[in-house]
Amino acid sequence: MIEAFLTNYNYFITIFLMSAGLYIVVARGNMVKKLVGVALFQSSVYLLYLSPAKILGGTPPILAEGFDVYANPLPHVLILTAIVVGVATLALGLALVVRINEAYGTIEEDEIFAEGEDLQNDAKTPRVEGEL
């Protein structure tokens, strides 16, 4: 039982991180916090890919004399890409947050929607607004 738990420990933590990240994304209204949640959610995927690539007793996939068990390099490459995608998304999201803060004076979703400005309602659309 404990044995089984430990062999899958990586996956359990991965799942915990994923759920926590997703929880932040859905539960929190603060836009910065949400982006941190998204980042957590994405980084849990890194573990999902990297854990199976590890071979116990192996070494990093840099070929050298005297080693013959190496970790699988492919997931490493995929996750490098995923990390870059993650930071790119974060940067763009934060730029949006800064602009939203300038336009609304708040970064709380609840306050933006409470302003009577919920996105459904079109009653008070100014013709042209914000900086072009």
């Binding site: 430990l6 062999t7 420990y9 990586n10 996956y11 933590i13 799942i15 915990f16 991180l17 994923m18 759920s19 990240g21 929880y23 932040i24 859905v26 539960a27 209204g29 603060n30 910065v32 916090k33 941190v36 980042a39 980084s43 890194y46 573990l47 990297l50 854990s51 199976p52 690539a53 590890k54 116990l56 192996g58 990093p60 996939p61 840099i62 070929l63 190496y70 970790a71 699988n72 390099p73 492919l74 490493h76 490459v77 996750i79 490098l80 890409t81 990390i83 995608v85 930071v87 790119a88 974060l90 940067a91 763009l92 934060l94 730029a95 800064v98 803060n101 970064i107 609840d110 306050e111």
Partner: protein, 184 residues
């Protein structure tokens, strides 16, 4: 055994940091915790023999992301308001995804074994072919730049897209020399 032990401890710390991130309302602390999280996950990656990834995560997750988050906090505010929404839906979503993942991952091959499909099928080919094909010993570089070089082109394009997107959103045409301190 030592590998497994270190792995377990680091992962537990990771989980604890995550709880901290979820519970903290001071955004400054959240950002610092997220930085700690990134360093921890980079250490886990070291244990998992993913050195290139660990290096990237340490510089990107703990470095660039933290700088960006801090500069945004400087431009906005550092405290999160209490959300007025009910926690039921989020809990449902989180547990639903968690349950689905448990369902999906319980039967995955055990940790650290060489006898699983990914360590049998394409992965070993890269290790075998890297030297004859390219004479490059770091297989991650070979796969990144050559075998899956097109993914890396896409990745560079993603960075490019985000860069131009941020510039479109934030760049000011005329720089105002007065209200800038430049430190954040």
């Amino acid at each position: 055994m030592a590998e497994t032990l270190i792995n377990t401890i680091l992962l537990t710390l990771l989980a604890l940091t995550t709880i901290g991130v979820v519970r903290t309302r001071n955004l400054f602390s959240v950002v610092i915790l997220a930085g700690i999280y990134s360093f921890l996950i980079a250490s886990v990656m070291m244990v998992l023999d993913a050195v290139d990834v660990a290096m990237t995560e340490a510089s990107v997750g703990a470095g660039i992301s933290t700088v960006l988050l801090l500069s945004v906090l400087y431009l906005t505010k550092t405290h999160e308001s209490v959300p007025i929404r009910t926690p039921l839906l989020p809990l449902f979503v989180a547990f639903g995804v968690g349950a689905m993942l448990i369902y999906g991952t319980v039967d995955l091959p055990p940790f650290g074994s060489a006898e699983q499909p990914i360590n049998q099928h394409v992965g070993p080919d890269y290790l075998e072919r890297s030297i004859p094909d390219t004479k490059v010993p770091n297989v991650v570089t070979t796969v990144l730049a050559s075998y899956r070089g097109f993914d890396t082109l896409g990745e560079t394009a993603v960075v490019f897209t985000a860069g131009i997107g941020v510039l479109m959103l934030l760049r000011r045409r005329k720089k105002k020399q007065d209200d800038e301190g430049g430190e954040d």
